[in-house]
Each structure stands twice: as C-alpha cells, then as structure tokens.
C-alpha cells in the first residue's frame, strides 16, 4: 500500500471516529413498545404523593400542605435515591425557599435537600439557625450530626449526638454517638457500646438496627477484624433484605470490603441488577475487574459509568467526585486525574473513604505532598483504620 493510501485511510479513520455518539432519534416499530417505567396507578407512595400534590396545587401558599408534600416526596426520593423527588420537594417549598428566616420545618427540609446535593455548608447554615431557634429539634440535630461527620468534624458531631440522648430511643442516640467517636480513636469502645445496645433492643428489623449493624461492620473492618466484619456485613444485609429496601450505602461499603477480601463473585451476584445506582454500578465494575473474566460486561459497565459522569459534568455538578476519583484510579488507571478529583472531593467530604482514595491516588501518581492534608487529618483525629494506615504507610 502506498504512503498516500495509508494516509487517506487514516484521515478517514480520524474523521469517522470524530463523530460524537449522540442519541439518534427514531420512530418505534411497535405501538405497544414499552419506552419507560413509571409508578403505576396502584403504587401507594405515588398515590399518596398525588393526593398531597392536588392539595398543594389548590393552595400553593399553604405551609402545611407544602411541608406535607415535600416530606412525602423526600421519602420516595430517599427510597429510590432519585434526585427528581428532591427537586419536587424544593418546588413545593418555593414560596419560602429563598427566605433566610424561613419557617422551622422549611429550614430542616431545605437542609435535607442541600445535603443530598452535597451542599453541606448551605445545609449547616440552615441547621445552625434551626437549632438556635429550637435547640430541641431532633431532626435538625440528627441531620447536623451527620453533616458534620461527613465534613470530617467528628467532635462537633459527637456533641450533637450527646444532646440527643434524652430525646430519642437509645439505639439511635448510641449509634449516632458511636459513629462519631469511632472516627476519633475510640473505635473499640464504640463497638462495645453498639454491641450492648443492639442486644438490649428489640430484634425486629428496623431502620435504626440496620444503621447500627452497618456501622458495626464498618468499625470491625477499620480495626482489621476481617471475620467480625464479614459476619457483621452479612447480618446488616439480612436486616436490609428483611426490610425489603435497597440501602446503597450499606451495599457499597460491603462491596468494597468483599472485593478487598477477594470475593468478587459475591459482589457480582448481588449487584448485577443494581446498575441504575451509580455507586453500585462502580462496585459491580470493580468486582468484574477483580474477577478478571468477561471483559464484555466490564467494558459495558465502564461505558455506562463514563456516560453518567459525563452527564453530570454537562450539568456542572460535583456530586460524583469520590466515585469518579475511584473510577479513574481503579478502572481507568489515570492516577493524575484521580488525584485531582480526590483533592476536589476532600474539600467537600471527609469520610474514611475520601481519605483513602486521596492517599492511594497520591501514591499512584507519585505526589507524596498531595497526601499531606489527609495524613494531618489522620493524626489530628486519631482515626483507627487499617486501610488508611496501610495507604499512608505506602507513601513513606
């Protein structure tokens, strides 16, 4: 083949691959082709929401109607991890949304929505105001404890949890406190307390029990007690199944543990039908990579993840920073991109997983200095976490 021919062929190739993959519109072949699934007319949640929506439409300035609708929407949004419902709730609160000094319930709901979209500082402003106004607002205090912990301020979170002791059932108050103190160098004690309160509580599967069991498994994992972590996660998963819910947080934490324990097949089995949850899709792809077989599924899942990150970028959103950093480091193997994302993430979120990805990305891109803020954070908080210690040790 002559040089000219080669060049022409290459130019054609470059041109061909330059056309972006956009969705091409089409006319479906069959009338009864199902294009989308939505809640049916018999879905109880959807029906309740529709009734509240009708009431709100009739009197859009009615605070009680707006709050009732927003709460119902958030409940569905939470159960399905669907941001649209958070948007519906925000719309219902429209008349009060822009007010600094909004009614108490609106402050708490607005904070809930802000934290969902990772606007933690905005959530803090609302919660501080709500608690100043009413220090015994349980919801506000519990949400603030969570937000503070996500921001890496376990001590302040613990103070909020302590305040809850007289107001909520022991299981909730102690889990809240144990969650914070386990990040401050008191993991063993936190675990003992959790064990005690779980024993004392009714054995029924409840949200609170699920939370406590998840935390217990996480603490065991951080302390390096692999067998305890294994049984702990199994117990939490059983509770989740009994509740007939999908808890993406628990599933992601368990999947990370199972992959490190070289059990990718278990992760694949449980997550293969959860591809609509970004977090879990990432874990599924990681498990497929760890297992090292079936490249077609892995590359399909990788493409799905890429497309979702790209869609979020187009919107100008930054809710996926941690997951995107994990994707870049573990799957795409672009250490420098992973580090950049992990550093951005660290500015917003400071949980053990955020620390871990930043340490590992710094190591892989040979930028020891980039890990400094995390190393300092580990020293300052006294957090006990085997994975973090190993990752930090590898940097020296």
């Amino acid at each position: 083949m002559g040089m000219l021919k080669i060049r022409l062929a290459l130019f054609a190739l470059v041109l061909l691959c330059s056309f972006t993959a956009t969705a091409n519109p089409y006319i479906p072949q069959r009338d009864d082709l199902v294009l989308a699934k939505v809640p049916t007319r018999f879905d109880p949640d959807a029906r309740a929401l529709a009734t509240l929506r009708a009431q709100l439409t009739a009197s859009p300035k009615d605070l009680n109607a707006a709050v009732a609708y927003a709460q119902a929407a958030l409940k569905i949004g939470h159960a399905r991890s669907d941001p649209r419902y958070y948007g519906y709730a925000e719309a219902a609160l429209g008349p009060w949304w822009g007010l600094d000094n909004a009614p108490q319930q609106v402050l708490v709901l607005r904070a809930t929505i802000h934290q969902f979209f990772h606007a933690f500082d905005l959530a803090r402003v609302d919660l501080d105001r709500a608690l100043l106004r009413n220090p015994s607002d349980v919801q506000a205090r519990l949400i603030r404890a969570t937000v503070l912990q996500v921001q890496g301020q376990a001590e302040l979170a613990l103070a909020d949890c302590e305040q809850l002791k007289q107001q909520v059932e022991p299981l909730v108050a102690i889990t809240c406190a144990a969650s914070a103190s386990s990040l401050m160098g008191r993991a063993v004690r936190a675990d003992a307390l959790l064990g005690f309160v779980l024993e004392q509580s009714k054995p029924d599967a409840t949200d609170a029990r699920l939370w406590a069991e998840t935390l217990r498994a996480e603490i065991a994992e951080r302390l390096g007690h692999d067998e305890l972590a294994q049984t702990g996660y199994q117990r939490a998963l059983e509770t989740m199944d009994a509740l007939k819910i999908t808890d993406a947080y628990l599933l992601a934490a368990w999947a990370d543990f199972a992959i490190e324990q070289k059990q990718p097949q278990a992760v694949i089995d449980r997550l293969k039908n959860q591809t609509d949850i970004d977090n879990l899709l990432l874990r599924l792809a990681l498990a497929e990579q760890a297992k090292g077989s079936d490249g077609a599924e892995l590359s399909r899942h990788r493409n799905m993840l890429e497309a979702r990150f790209a869609a979020a970028r187009q919107r100008g959103e930054a809710v996926h920073l941690r997951e995107e950093a994990m994707y870049q480091l573990y799957l795409a193997k672009h250490a420098s991109s992973a580090l950049r994302l992990a550093q951005q993430d660290w500015q917003i979120q400071r949980e053990p997983l955020d620390a871990l990805i930043l340490l590992r990305a710094a190591k892989s891109s040979q930028q020891v200095d980039a890990a400094k803020p995390v190393i300092e954070w580990i020293a300052k908080t006294g957090i006990e976490d085997q994975r973090l210690s190993r990752a930090a040790g590898a940097l020296k």
Binding site: L35, T40, Q139, L142, T146, A332
Partner: protein, 373 residues
C-alpha cells in the same frame, strides 16, 4: 417525631444519586430566518408534568406518547421562547423517541421562523422549573458557530450573538494546548529529537555521510514528523472518544521504550530506511498516552472534532517549527566531526538513558528521578 425522616438522612448523606437528575437536551440551528432543532425531554418528566401513562399501568408505550402529541407540544412550547429582533415562531414538526443513558426521551423535532434574519437572539427557557428546580436545559446552539449553555432557574434567559466566539475560541484554545504539549512534553521532545539528530546525515556502509541539500534534510524530517503526527492524531482521537482505552502504566512504559529506541537507533543502527514508518508506529503509542491529559482538559462535547483538529494542528505546527529551527543549524554543521562525535552520539546516549530510567520507573512504579515524569 417522624422516624422516617430522622433515619433516612443518616443513611443517605454520602450516597451518590442513583438516577440522573432531570435534564433536557435542546439542539437548535438558526440560519438566517430559519430555525430547526431537536429537543429531547425525558418521558418520566412528561409523565410527572402532564401525565402520559393513560392506562396507569406503569408502562409508557409508544402509542401513549403519540396520543399525547398535542399536549406534549403545548407543554414544551410553553417552556421555550425565542426572540430575534421580533418574535420567532416555533412548532413541533415531528415527534420521535431518543434513548439517553437514563432511558427514553421524547424527541421533539422543531421548526420555526423569525420575522427578520436576526443578528442577535434571546432564548427564554423555563420548562419544568416550576415543578423541579433541579431540572436543567442543556442547550447546543448553532448560530453561526456552536455555543453550549445550561439553563437553570437562576439563568432562564440568555442572549446570543450571531457568529459566537465559541468555535474560534475553542480552536485557539486547543491549538495552544497542542503547541504547549510539544514544547513542554519531554516524552515527545526526546523521541523526536532522537529521530531528528541525524537527519542531516545518511548512514551508508562507510558510516555517516552528509546529505547533499537542505531540501532533502528538511523533507526527510518533515516526513518523519508528519507520519508521527498523523498516527498520534489517530490514536489520540480514538482514545479521547473513548473508543480505545489502555492502562496508562502500560502506555507510559511503551512510550519510554520508544524513546530508548529513538536514541539507540542512532548508536546501533536498527532501522535506517523508512524512519517515517517507525515514527508512525511510535506515534500510535504516543497518541494513546496523551489522551488522558487531553481528557482531563475536558473536550467540549459539541466541538470535539474541532478541538481535536486544533490540538493536532498545534502539535504538528510546534514540531515543524522545531524542524525549521533545528535542521538548518544541524545542516550547517553536517560536515563537522564535532557534530557527529559531540552532539549525535552523546545526545543519543542521553536520550536512551533517560528513556531507560522512565521505563524502569513506569514499569515497576518506582521513583528514580523526577525529570519530566
């Protein structure tokens, strides 16, 4: 106390969104008085806004979508106004379906007309904002140049000028990135340097012999450099589009190997004829390696072709500038033994050694020197 609210917050806070938030994709093309376009709106959003699941069975079928054609058109058109020195009309010309990452969308084919050929248009977008303030309208507007913007409740009205600086700005930005990539990319420089050092000489059985004319020297180098750029452009484009993806450690290691080869080839002849073929194959490897950097920069989705073209023109331009600078100088010294002994040989040794260090560093992930890697 509402327990559900109490607890879901706790378990939720760090969970990323399961579903994509609500977006619509609006593509508009305005030429003179004519407007054409496509607007993709999620069927889920239409269901929540106007109710298109007629029988309430939870399945939205194609016939249900078609049945609601007028309602969909009315709802959508209420959310979009275009003004171009006077009102512009906009109608639904056809209704189809488009599949996006998160499911099926109604694809509204739009056609419209402005009273005059506007130099400036204003677009008002308020679709869904009243029921979901987290909704975003992602606009891709071709109005004498492609521009992309995002409509949000805080930014519902945007004015556009004919021609837009979009395309030109993109081109210049990526052209500069391309130039910069060569000037600051040690991988790239060393590899090309290795190939260019002996360009003014020909290797014969009796050893190095100077070439007869500057034209030959420049032409030889030009071929090498251009073959490299074309190959480079090809794999770079494929990688940037996500068609191919190789682990960066492997690619970086291969790049280091090409640098070693470029240096060694001047010391121990391995390939003399058709160096451009070699440059081509090595260009394929280098292209994959820098795709990561380019992706990090973020390719504009609507102007990928333009951006990639500009980047590659930048790369080629920088290389040719280097050729024009280096080759005449080395040409002047082509008869000097000093050039051969004190430049080509030590230069090639240095290149090979650096390549070797890189190779070890990258293949085994150990840190030896922090020079350009």
């Amino acid at each position: 106390m509402k327990r559900w609210l109490l607890l879901f917050v706790l378990l939720l806070s760090t969970t990323a969104h399961a579903h994509k938030p609500s977006d619509s994709y609006l593509k508009l093309h305005v030429v003179d008085q004519q407007i054409s376009g496509e607007w993709d709106i999620a069927l889920r959003d239409l269901e929540y806004a106007i109710g298109i699941d007629t029988n309430g069975d939870g399945n939205i079928t194609w016939s249900e979508v078609r049945e609601h054609r007028d309602a969909i058109a009315a709802f959508a058109m209420h959310g979009l106004k275009i003004e171009g020195e006077g009102e512009c009309s906009l109608q639904l010309s056809d209704l189809q379906i488009a599949d996006h990452t998160d499911g099926a969308y109604a694809a509204l084919m739009l056609a419209g007309r402005c009273a005059n050929s506007p130099k400036e248009i204003t677009i008002d977008y308020k679709l869904l904002f009243d029921i979901d303030p987290t909704h975003r309208g992602l606009l891709n507007l071709d109005f004498g140049g492609v521009q992309t913007v995002v409509f949000s409740p805080d930014r519902k009205q945007i004015k556009f000028h004919l021609g837009g600086s979009g395309a030109l700005a993109t081109f210049l930005q990526y052209l500069q990135e391309g130039l910069w990539h060569v000037w600051t990319g040690w991988d790239h420089m060393l590899f090309l340097g290795g190939l260019m050092l002996p360009a003014v000489l020909r290797r014969t059985r009796k050893g190095w012999v100077p070439v007869h004319s500057l034209k030959v020297a420049v032409w030889d180098t030009f071929r090498i450099v251009t073959a490299f750029t074309i190959a480079h452009a090809c794999t770079l484009s494929l990688a940037a589009m996500g068609v191919i993806s190789l682990p960066s450690r492997l690619v970086e290691t291969l790049v280091a190997a090409t640098v070693i080869f470029a240096g060694l080839n001047n010391l121990i002849p391995m390939s003399q004829r058709g160096l451009w073929v070699l440059a081509f194959f090595f260009g394929l490897i280098h292209g994959t390696a820098i795709a990561g950097a380019l992706l990090e920069l973020g390719l504009p989705t609507d102007q990928r072709v333009l951006a990639l073209l500009a980047f590659n023109i930048g790369v080629e331009g920088a290389q040719l500038a280097l050729v024009c600078l280096v080759v005449p100088i080395t040409y002047a010294f082509r008869y000097s033994t000093f050039y051969r002994r004190a430049v080509i040989i030590p230069g090639s040794v240095v290149i090979s050694v650096i390549g070797m260090i890189w190779l070890i560093q990258r293949a085994f992930e150990i840190h030896l020197i922090s020079f350009g890697s």
